[in-house]
């Protein structure tokens, strides 16, 4: 089946992609077909309104006043890109009738569809996030049916009823498994296209940092940290979870990407923004413990994730994340302590305990090394210029 009707594409693929449910993957969409589909946009208002309302509901969880969203060519290209990537894991795309060059044509088409202009517009970023926010939650139900003389596997398809009849006589056995993001979009073949796609929707990537995904380039996403509302949403989403390792998973990935950023030649203002954000995450962890009377002088979170026994299993970037406040305090004390911590006695006390426990856990050498790397990018501030 080809997608010649935009209304059908919106109903059966785009709307489920936004609000969940079964999204149907059919024949790939060619670049030439995009023009025809775009021309139908004024004539499928009911379906467009449904998609826009679903996107608005999604971003209403992040911002108080969602911008007005209008589905247009930009969203159509990105949705078609996702569709074509999902076609590459369609069982028919792997058959003898589809040559490698044919698969490459689909991949090139998806790459071109993803090559939309990068945007730092707040409403554009939110609109793209509303469309792609479920990218990491995509699943596919695979069914394998075995009978006494053979077996068949159906990837994202319902097995025919005839194979299920006479179950006991034919000794029919049915196994179901769920293919997740890694199976669908995490393959080596499509990873470059997914990376290009997520560079156009950096908010989606920041909010999904609790999961494995393509590497984060802070230079593309740092502008989001300058929007207090979005930065707050990212910060709160990144600290979800109850298990200590789960809580620090996203901050550790943020810090790992920050380490990579320091190896490039970023602008000083970008380094400062990301560093301040990571210090803010540190402060949120402190705030979470400050009001709890049952917690002793040592932080159970830090004890769990920085224990010397598990030093070998530490996530990448974890030491950098916790060492950052101490390292920044040596270069620019304004970045080392978030504003407002010093005014609350309980919070300030807990902050100092955390910092002391981090020094004990990671060692002063790590902090010194990080401070040395930061000095290459940050202009030091003399102590007398610091007003705290």
């Amino acid at each position: 089946m080809g997608w010649s009707d935009l209304g059908e594409l919106l109903e059966r693929f785009v709307l489920p992609l936004v609000s969940g449910g079964e999204l149907v993957v059919g024949r790939p969409i060619a670049i030439d077909a995009l023009g025809d589909l775009e021309a139908q946009i004024p004539h499928v208002t009911p379906q467009l309104v449904a998609v826009d309302e679903a996107r608005t509901e999604v971003i209403a969880e992040l911002v108080v006043r969602p911008p007005a969203l209008v589905f247009e060519a930009d969203e159509l290209c990105l949705a078609a890109c996702v569709h074509n990537l999902l076609f590459l894991v369609h069982p028919r795309a792997d058959s003898w009738a589809v040559s490698t060059s044919a698969r490459m044509r689909v991949l090139d088409t998806a790459q071109e569809m993803a090559a939309r202009p990068l945007s730092q517009s707040r409403s554009r970023v939110l609109a793209r996030h509303g469309l792609l926010h479920n990218l990491f939650r995509l699943t596919r139900m695979d069914t394998k049916i075995s009978w006494w003389t053979g077996s068949a596997t159906y990837l994202g398809q319902r097995p025919p009823g005839r194979l299920r009849t006479w179950r006991s006589v034919r000794r029919v056995r049915e196994e179901q498994s769920v293919a997740s993001y890694e199976d669908l979009l995490g393959t080596v073949e499509v990873a470059p296209v997914v990376t290009a796609l997520l560079r156009r929707a950096p908010l989606t990537q920041l909010l999904a940092m609790t999961r494995d995904g393509p590497p984060l380039y802070w230079e593309d996403a740092v502008f989001l940290l300058r929007d207090a509302e979005l930065a707050r949403a990212v910060a709160y989403r990144s600290l979800r979870g109850s298990e200590p390792r789960q809580v620090v998973a996203a901050p550790a990935r943020f810090a790992a990407a920050f380490e990579q950023m320091l190896e490039r030649a970023p602008a000083e203002s970008d380094v400062r923004a990301v560093a301040a954000f990571l210090v803010h995450l540190n402060a949120l962890l402190v705030v979470g413990e400050a009001g709890d009377r049952e917690i002793g002088p040592r932080s159970p979170l830090l004890s769990a994730v920085l224990s010397p026994e598990r030093a070998g299993q530490r996530q990448r970037g974890l030491a950098t994340f916790f060492s950052l406040p101490a390292a920044l305090a040596q270069i620019d004390p304004r970045l080392g302590v978030p504003p407002g911590v010093a005014t609350d006695a309980l919070l300030a006390d807990r902050w100092l305990r955390h910092r002391a426990q981090v020094v004990e856990g990671v060692g002063e050498a790590v902090i010194e090394t990080l401070a040395g790397r930061l000095r290459r990018h940050l202009t030091a501030v003399l102590p007398e210029h610091v007003s705290m």
Binding site: A93, A97, R105, R140, L155
Partner: protein
């Protein structure tokens, strides 16, 4: 011996006070570290007492002066204590302990204390925590309590410190009041007519006859008595003066000016029934607000220029000056005249009137709201907490809306506030009924008894209303409401479904004719 030389207790030589820590109390919090504190109906953390700390005695006097000008000190006197306390480092401060009757009282005390450089804490026994401020509207609770050193009597917990104090000595308020010098008021000697309604004159014995004659000629109503100030000791020779004490009414301004410029005549203005202060001077603390400190069996004369306080046995027994004028007796001439017949004497009845009260203000127990302000009352009801709605009773009358509050709530601030002169007998606040007859006599003549409220409005005749006519405000607050049935809906929100890929059959040659980008036909 200086405090440094003394062999002080252990705590006095201990290290500097530890760094304290306070937690903000939240609304509805019920468990606290500080012993003896609990939230009041407004949710504000309150102990049995408020503790005000001042660096010097001047701070205490300034606070008393400020507070007494705003609110009667009488309500605090039951448990008010002024003490000199010492810190472990030997510095001395002044502590004033007041009963925490309500958070409104402590709020007022804290505001006055802050204005004169004091700090306010609340607690019950030994531990006192900082009282609420703008940063923590429901107060503070101590984060960490340490036991008091053996000789310390109180420990205060501030935001950044804890401090222990040992009590050195107490300073009774009545002694402090008598010690304070009166201060001259610029223009205070020019009295208005209402201030001249009743005055006391202390006249030297030698001037007595002349003053009596002068007042009598000028038709000034007055009474006079011979008084001797009580001696404090047998050696107090200077106090053995005998004066004539006049109580005069409606003294004309010209006579007042004459008396002020006459040596040997001193003029006093009564503040309460048994306290008078020299005209032109004022006590730093409003004496009318602490009347219970002055024994009813004594009359206190606060001199201004001499800086002394004379006490006289009370009640004052004075005689009318009209009976003391000089008589010319001529027994030689025979008297002649008609014989008159006296008819039956009518009862001497005077109408009951409202007059400004000299007594300290009483507690407001009710309010009379004009009918035209009923709309305001309706609006106010929306903002009242449940305790206030339950604590008020109201009755709608043709004279206005009568609101009566139970003792534990403050009256709605609308209309004319009413105070109780006798059970059920309500007069406007700041007014009194004259003639000042005993409450039971008054009640009998008014036909007032239990189960009745007799209200004297600011204008118009008094009216009575039965207690049964008053209904709780929470019952009267609601208009008749039509209640219809409602259908219960399931408001649970289904969690968003996971997006699941379904592969549609695309045929064996799915990519037949699929062109690469940028490649034409």
């Amino acid at each position: 011996m200086s405090p440094r030389d003394s062999t002080g207790p252990d705590w006095a030589r201990s290290t500097a006070p530890g760094r304290g820590g306070l937690e903000h109390v939240s609304l509805g919090q019920s468990r606290f570290m500080t012993p003896g504190v609990a939230p009041d109906p407004r949710g504000i953390l309150l102990g049995r007492y408020g503790l005000l700390i001042f660096p010097t005695l001047e701070g205490v006097v300034s606070w008393l002066r400020l507070y007494s000008a705003e609110s009667p000190l009488d309500e605090l006197l039951a448990a008010l204590e002024i003490s000199q306390v010492r810190t472990p480092l030997g510095s001395r401060e002044m502590a004033v302990r007041i009963p925490a009757i309500s958070s409104y009282v402590v709020d007022r005390a804290a505001r006055c204390a802050l204005l004169v450089g004091g700090a306010t804490y609340t607690g019950t026994a030994k531990h006192f925590v900082k009282y609420r401020d703008d940063r923590s509207p429901y107060g503070y609770d101590a984060a960490d309590l340490t036991p008091l050193p053996p000789d310390a009597s109180i420990m205060v917990h501030g935001e950044d410190f804890t401090q222990t104090y040992a009590r050195e000595r107490d300073l009774p308020l009545d002694r402090l009041l008598l010690r304070l010098s009166r201060r001259r008021i610029p223009g205070g000697a020019d009295l208005r007519p209402d201030e001249r309604r009743e005055l006391f004159l202390v006249v030297a014995h030698g001037l007595g006859e002349g003053v009596i004659r002068y007042l009598w000629r000028n038709r000034v109503v007055g009474r006079v008595g011979l008084v001797t100030p009580e001696r404090k000791s047998a050696f107090d020779e200077s106090r053995a003066r005998v004066h004539l004490l006049f109580r005069v009414q409606d003294l004309p301004a010209r006579i007042l000016d004459l008396f002020r410029s006459t040596p040997g005549i001193d003029i006093f203005r009564p503040l309460t029934e048994n306290v008078a202060v020299e005209v032109g001077y004022a006590h730093p603390i409003d004496l009318a607000s602490c009347q219970s400190l002055f024994e009813p069996s004594r009359f206190f004369l606060f001199w201004g220029q001499r800086d002394q306080v004379d006490t006289i046995a009370a009640p004052l027994e004075l005689s009318g000056i009209e009976h003391l004028t000089r008589l010319d007796i001529q027994l030689d001439q025979a008297t002649s005249g008609d014989t008159l017949q006296i008819a039956a004497l009518d009862a001497v009845g005077v109408p009951l009137e409202l007059a400004p009260s000299l007594n300290p203000s009483r507690r407001v127990v009710g309010s009379l709201i004009p009918l035209e302000q009923a709309r305001w009352l309706k609006r106010l009801i929306y903002f009242l907490p449940q305790t206030s709605l339950r604590g008020h009773r109201m009755a709608l009358t043709d004279r206005g809306i009568l609101i009566v509050a139970s003792p534990d709530v403050d009256v709605i601030p609308l209309g004319t506030p009413l105070a109780e002169v006798a059970p059920g007998l309500l007069v406007p606040l700041g007014w009194d009924l004259v003639p000042r007859v005993a409450p039971d006599v008054l009640a009998r003549s008014l036909g007032h008894n239990a189960g009745l409220y007799t209200v004297f409005p600011p204008s118009g005749a008094a009216f009575q209303i039965g207690d049964s006519a008053l209904a709780p405000l929470e019952r009267r607050a609601l208009a008749r409401i039509e209640i219809g049935g409602a259908e219960v809906l399931d408001a649970r929100i289904e969690p968003p479904a996971e997006p699941a890929v379904v592969n549609e059959p695309v045929g064996r040659f799915a990519l037949w004719g699929f062109r690469a980008p940028g490649r034409g036909d």
